[in-house]
Symmetry: C7
Subunit: 72 residues, 7 copies
């Protein structure tokens, strides 16, 4: 299920909301069955809409609340 | 059990309450055994009743408190 | 164990206390080994004794503190 | 281990301390390997020593800090 | 590992620190692979050094931070 | 997935954000399937940009929010 | 991975940071796959740099954030 949506999002920009309020945006490079994600050109999106660059990133799945694939 | 109710809700609007208080509404597109959900035309419902659009969405099951299928 | 009590409660009203303080009441329609519950005619019982209707509901087992079956 | 102590407590009054501070007392009717308990004539024991009746009760094991079997 | 230390502590007084700050002391009667413990003549040790008796006790392992076996 | 990125980062400096806000930087020496990491020449990076040395370090995977491999 | 570093630290002093802020120092006597540790001559290191002796100690792995082996 999630696999299908994540699969279709490979190479595209996804938006990720983490527990604790952090929001990350980046190009999805890979994922596994724990919903661990690897992103490229990732950035943290702050509440004021600005973002700071994080580069390549591994996000542990258990911190994730939700993932928005790009609009199709 | 949950499978049956979720199965009958496929393609319909469900309301999801998350830990931490967020409420999400969207058309259920899929789910798995962890209760990970994929939604379309999802929106976050704020306390004042307004909502902001989230588009397609994967919600990790472990953040979910409860799911309301549409009234039958 | 829990299975027996839950089994005997099928089709009857149960009271559910959730982590965080929410109290839910509803007719038990089903359950699984994670104590995920499906309820019908569910309602959230507020501290002042009033309740607001939630309709059909799936409650994820890991949010549950305790379940009171109906008095026999 | 726990099985032996719980086994010897079947049909007797046990005292249960839950995460978050709740204290429950009731007649132990059953338990499983997750330490889920089923109690009869359960009551919540308040800090002032008073108690309010809960009747039959399933307590999810993952909320339990400790269980006191009856004095032998 | 833990098994060896706990094994050598059977029948002896152990001190247990729990998540949330509670400290329990009691004679170790048994343990299992989840580090669930059964204690006899257990008592809760308060911050002022006083203690109140808890009798026989099952402590769920997932609440435990550390266990001090008796000095050898 | 994560394995590939971590594999390519062996022997290089990674930046690790932990639950609770700690930030750790160090040379990645190894990792396992739980995302437990072993680091050398690790240091804790404080909010003011200063860092204090921690030397060799094992970080338990379940504390990790995200890992930034070095820019390629 | 962690096994190798922990293996090399057997019989040596390690520093352990726990969730919630506690810092423990002691001679590593053993460990298992859950990162449960057994320590000898353990002591809790307070923020003011002083320490109070804890003797022999079992630390449950799931409370551990990180472990510093001795400088080699």
């Amino acid at each position: 299920m999630a696999v299908k949506v994540l699969d279709e999002s490979l190479g595209k920009v996804v938006l990720i909301k983490l527990k604790g309020g952090k929001v990350i945006r980046g190009v999805l490079q890979g994922f596994d069955q724990h919903m661990n994600l690897s992103l490229e050109r990732a950035e943290e999106v702050n509440e004021d809409g600005k973002s700071n660059s994080l580069g390549t990133l591994i996000v542990r799945g258990d911190n994730i609340i939700m993932i928005s694939p790009p609009p199709s």
